[in-house]
């Protein structure tokens, strides 16, 4: 690796220290674009955003603009949003329906399947010799529909999305399944929030990986209460009964916070202000327990699929993607999910809550953005860069084979019930990050050793 950019030791998990360089260094940022964003599986959008043939939604993969669209036959594609002739964006609308994407520059046009279907002066200027079959829109190398969520990778050598997720599927499922456990039973509410924050994209990525330590920064919202019953942030009465866990999948770089209820627990009533809402959630909880069996005891909360997709699986139920916009700027996109089958009153109630909680106007997240902004700003100087950040919280408390009342959870777990907080999940994120920066092949990436809860790679 170039000396000016990434080097071994910047992420030193044996000491629990990470250099500020990885957040503020221009060279490392450029390397990330190749090594992470051009290789990893990235979240692009949701099938409920493009229900009909010809529907499209313009999304991003890293710095790149892409078009998520459904062709005439109903097949879903993801294309680079750039004309093959001279690079102009072929679509500058956020979403819509179209039979064809026509480049405004020289008029090349592409079908919703990406094929080049129109070339002005094809006969006269190209003498009919241009091989149009070779000049369709650039397609992602791989695409998958996972419970309605569309993911893509630019790397043909990447493993399947299922392998990429590994054991984390157990935890990601709750974001996209209905609250009653129904497979992929969610849909996106209209309106995707997009906004800019002056910080490196890894600040929000680590926050959503499970920064359980930053609760103090949300004290003001806890005092005034935005939760569904008007108290706290999220109103989670079940939390008092549950084991609170950090769960990380070490060889994949995904991690989440979760609550595990005791077997005998009957959930305390929630969403009491409205009987329609409280009935709905109570019935869903019961149905989920019936369907999932013992797994129904697990409730995932906030987590991150490596590298840049974050989720909140409980209410407010959202997906966030951290799009890098240079080392010092991030564009955040936020999707909001509700159960497809929920009564309208439940959807309305949740929408109201989501808006006051999340995003730039959200009373909780406003304070997060302030922290990321000024943590980044104060880490840029040559002196500041000499001093690593501390990530040693909870080191050595990882449990490799966690089991609770007979339920064995895959991944490496830290029990926060007594400890309150750990940085286990954050270390997991940066361990994987360093592996991506170092490993030249997917063989190397998918064969990372991780003995005894304290993974070795990049340490």
């Amino acid at each position: 690796m170039a000396a000016a950019g990434y080097r071994r030791g910047l992420v030193d998990l044996s000491k629990g220290q990470i250099s500020r360089e990885i957040f503020v260094n221009d060279e490392i940022y450029a390397q990330e674009q190749e090594r992470l964003f051009a290789r990893a599986w990235l979240f692009v959008g949701h099938e409920s955003q493009i229900p009909n043939p010809g529907d499209f939604f313009v999304s991003c993969m890293g710095e790149e603009s892409v078009i998520l669209c459904r062709d005439r036959t109903g097949q879903i594609h993801v294309f680079l949003n750039s004309c093959r002739h001279r690079g102009m964006k072929v679509c500058r609308y956020d979403e819509g329906n179209t039979p064809v994407f026509t480049c405004p520059y020289h008029g090349w046009s592409y079908g919703t399947d990406g094929k080049l279907v129109g070339v002005p002066y094809f006969r006269e200027a190209y003498h009919s010799k241009l091989d149009r079959s070779q000049w369709g829109l650039v397609k992602v190398a791989q695409l998958t529909n996972y419970k309605g969520a569309i993911w893509a990778s630019w790397d043909p050598a990447a493993p399947s999305f299922a392998e990429y997720l590994g054991d984390f599927a157990h935890y990601l499922n709750q974001t996209f399944d209905g609250w009653d456990g129904s497979d992929g039973g969610t849909e996106i509410l209209g309106g995707i929030q997009k906004w800019r924050v002056p910080c490196n994209w890894k600040f929000p990525a680590e926050n959503f990986s499970g920064d359980s330590y930053h609760n103090i920064s949300h004290r003001s919202v806890d005092i005034v209460g935005v939760g569904p019953s008007g108290s706290g942030r999220r109103d989670m009465p079940e939390l008092n009964l549950a084991q609170k866990l950090h769960i990380a999948v070490p060889d994949r770089g995904h991690q989440t916070t979760a609550y595990l209820l005791p077997q005998a627990a009957s959930l305390p009533p929630a969403y009491q202000h409205s009987s329609v809402v409280s009935d709905y959630f109570r019935e869903c909880e019961a149905a989920r327990h019936r369907q999932r069996g013992d797994w129904g005891r697990l409730i995932t909360l906030v987590g991150e699929v490596f590298p840049s997709m974050a989720f909140l699986a409980r209410q407010p139920r959202t997906i966030a993607v951290w799009h890098p916009r240079g080392p010092h700027e991030t564009e955040i996109w936020r999707w909001f999910l509700v159960d497809k089958a929920a009564p309208q009153e439940v959807k309305d109630f949740l929408r109201d809550y989501y808006i006051r909680y999340s995003g730039p106007a959200g009373m909780t997240e406003q304070d997060d953005m302030e922290n990321w902004n000024y943590a980044h700003a104060a880490s840029r100087g040559v002196i500041a860069r000499r001093f690593a950040y501390n990530y040693e919280q909870g080191k050595g408390t990882e449990i490799e084979h966690y089991e609770h009342e007979g339920l064995r959870l895959p991944g490496v777990v830290v029990d926060l019930t007594q400890a309150k907080s750990s940085e286990h999940n954050l270390r997991n994120l940066y361990r994987r990050w360093a592996q991506f920066m170092e490993a030249d092949s997917w063989d190397d990436l998918m064969a990372q050793p991780h003995p005894a809860g304290v993974p070795q790679a990049a340490e």
Partner: protein, 181 residues
């Protein structure tokens, strides 16, 4: 042709509305948030949609819908009160230290007066806003757009019954919206 009396009534009403909007901006800029809340009707709807880039002819899809979609703001008095209380805790870090904010309100148009200009109990007023926010050291945001306010006469003054805020941005270029429009 309007007769002179009607013209005069209209002018007086417009001046009254302008005075109200300037007074409101003054309260916000002077951080008198609790006084500002008194100008909000109990049933106020405070709505700021997001704006999409859409094809010509599809403008009806440009704005996210109130009471239906995700918006930047779509809330009533209860949430507005919570926002004020949050600032007043003194530990709402996104507004601590507090921002320096100026609201410039201009291009005031009187779109509707119910039942009449002479005896207006409710008006619909449109204006342009420019909000300048500067905080901490050099952090600066400029937000420009239009506002449509449905105002209700209450005694000698007015209350805001509905505020529609149209910001001229697609990707929000401000990290957070910790202030009022």
């Amino acid at each position: 042709m309007m007769d002179q009396k009607e013209q005069l009534s209209r002018l007086l009403l417009k001046a009254e509305i302008e005075d109200f909007l300037y007074h409101e901006a003054e309260l916000l800029d002077e951080r008198r948030y609790e006084d500002w809340l008194k100008l909000a009707a109990d049933d106020i709807r405070y709505w700021m949609p997001m704006r999409r880039n859409v094809k010509f002819g599809e403008q009806q899809r440009e704005f996210t819908r109130a009471d239906h979609d995700i918006n930047w703001f779509d809330e009533g008095r209860e949430t507005l009160e919570r926002r004020v209380r949050q600032i007043m805790t003194g530990i709402h870090w996104a507004e601590e230290p507090v921002s320096r904010i100026t609201h410039i309100v201009s291009n005031v148009q009187l779109l509707e007066a119910i039942p009449s200009v002479d005896a207006a109990a409710e008006v619909l007023a449109k204006c342009r806003f420019l909000i300048y926010r500067n905080r901490v050291e050099t952090e600066t945001d400029i937000l420009v757009g239009k506002r449509e306010d449905r105002l209700r006469r209450v005694g000698e003054s007015w209350q805001i019954a509905r505020r529609k805020i149209i910001l001229d941005q697609n990707v929000l270029l401000t990290k957070n919206l910790t202030f009022f429009f």
